[in-house]
């Protein structure tokens, strides 16, 4: 492979995670560069969500190191809150704040962290609401929105922090089938703007079309890491072959 000049955002070295005596991640080493759109697939319980959640330290690694933009974020004394501003996260269950309006959901963090003034944050939120196609929902509460709409708002909320990379934890798994498309469409547009994205997903079609990289995690390690075309049409690892034969 020719020398890749793009900035390394995440440099993960021998990442491990155990819950009590359950060894979920068994040494993951990889890098994510600026502009990578990585789809992570694997059987349930393989550790792919744990891996993603470790990347912004929602799970604390029990071994190995994670370097973000050159800084070891697993070292003691690191300002985790400052690091997390750079890493957006979209959850399976959306996790919008039900007691706040859509506008307040999006402006809360930028305003409270003194990144933007109230007025700037509102302007930005309205711009982002336009982008996710829900400008008329600004003053609604999350409970008034459909699942697909809530997830689009959750994406806008993460984008309001202007992250360098966005993590998606099965963003369409909790949605009714007819709403999956609208969320994937927003993510596709986001990918086209050059956003670095790491996506745990079961949407193989999306992974194949939109991702620049497909990763198979099984038994707590990366078993295959390829360009999607190769990954889906010519899988090498036998477990991946079995997995794809079940889901495709």
């Amino acid at each position: 492979m020719s020398a890749d000049e793009r900035q390394i955002l995440f440099d993960i070295q021998g990442l491990e995670k155990s819950f009590a005596d359950n060894h979920v991640l068994r040494g993951i080493t990889t890098q994510f560069r600026k502009g990578d759109v990585t789809a992570i697939v694997g059987p349930s319980g393989c550790g792919k969500s744990t891996f993603l959640r470790s990347l912004n330290l929602l799970e604390e690694p029990t071994g190995g190191r994670i370097l973000f933009e050159g800084t070891d974020i697993t070292a003691p004394g690191v300002d985790i809150n400052r690091f997390r501003r750079k890493v957006g996260m979209v959850f399976q269950q959306f996790n919008l704040f039900p007691h706040l309006t859509i506008l307040e959901n999006i402006t809360l963090a930028p305003v409270k962290l003194h990144i933007l003034s109230k007025q700037q944050a509102v302007e930005k939120a309205r711009f982002l609401l336009d982008r996710v196609g829900l400008p008329e929902k600004a003053d609604d509460y999350p409970a008034m929105l459909s699942g697909g709409q809530q997830q689009r708002i959750a994406i806008a909320r993460a984008m309001a922090m202007e992250p360098d990379v966005m993590l998606f934890d099965e963003p369409t798994s909790a949605l009714d089938p007819e709403m999956v498309g609208e969320v994937l469409e927003i993510m596709r547009e986001l990918a086209q703007t050059g956003m670095t994205m790491i996506i745990v997903t079961h949407e193989m079609g999306f992974a194949r079309e939109v991702a620049t990289r497909a990763m198979f995690i099984d038994e707590g390690v990366i078993k295959e890491d390829e360009k999607p075309a190769e990954f889906f049409s010519n899988p090498k690892n036998q477990r991946l072959v079995d997995f794809l034969s079940k889901v495709l």
């Binding site: 400052r82 501003r85 269950q93 704040f97 039900p98 809360l108 963090a109 962290l113």
Partner: protein
């Protein structure tokens, strides 16, 4: 000799301005309730946050242990005894019944508020905290802006209950000779030898204020719930 109802009303409440015992007593009762409720909410929230932080993250171990001892002692002993300990032992050298009542009822209420609020905090989906943290908000900021407002809304009915109990329980102030509403009515009885009217009147006044409290909290609850409508 039996008096008519009008005469008894006159005797108990109008003669020698005896109604003033009730009004002054009511003022004291309400003052104690409000101050104790304020202490209870403030201290109760702090304890609840300490306890739930320990439950969720394992941090604040020592503070949590202190809180647990506090809750055990307060909830395990009668309020009357606590009130008398504060007045007759802790403040024995100074005669401060009102201050004693503030402190005793405040500390007592805090223990109950703490457990109510803690149950509210624990009932909020962990995803809410994760969403806050993933945006770069600190644990404290996420607690304050995201978790507490939702928890407060959920526990409002239980808090209403606690404050109703508090209002009524202040009637044990007689134990430290503090002239609250109940004591006021017995002062009238001791002068008129009539227990019926002063006590019925006292009961009615408590009832009216409990209903008022319930109504006010009901309004607050409806306002906070308005964003759940679809």
């Amino acid at each position: 000799m039996s008096l008519s109802l009008t005469e008894r009303l006159k005797l108990n409440f109008l003669e020698q301005d005896r109604w003033k015992y009730m009004v002054r007593g009511l003022g004291t009762t309400l003052l104690i309730t409000v101050v104790a409720a304020a202490i209870g909410i403030l201290l109760g929230f702090v304890i609840a946050v300490i306890r739930s932080t320990y439950d969720k993250t394992g941090h604040l171990k020592i503070l949590n242990a202190v809180c647990k001892v506090y809750l055990t002692v307060i909830r395990g002993t009668p309020t009357t005894v606590q009130l008398m300990i504060v007045y007759f032992i802790i403040f024995s050298s100074v005669n401060k019944p009102l201050l004693s009542a503030f402190i005793a009822f405040g500390l007592n209420s805090a223990a109950y508020v703490a457990e109510i609020v803690r149950s509210g905090i624990m009932s909020i989906n962990p995803g809410q905290m994760e969403a806050g943290r993933s945006l770069g908000l600190s644990y404290r900021a996420s607690m304050w802006y995201i978790i507490i407002p939702q928890a407060f809304k959920n526990v409002l009915p239980a808090l209403t209950n606690e404050f109703i109990v508090l209002l009524k329980e202040t009637s044990i102030c007689m134990a430290i000779s503090l002239k609250d509403l109940t004591y006021g009515s017995t002062l009238i009885s001791s002068q008129t030898y009539d227990y019926f009217l002063p006590l019925i009147m006292t009961a009615l006044i408590y009832l009216v204020f409990v209903m008022l409290l319930t109504w006010l909290f009901g309004i607050l609850e409806r306002r906070l719930r308005s964003n759940e409508r679809r």
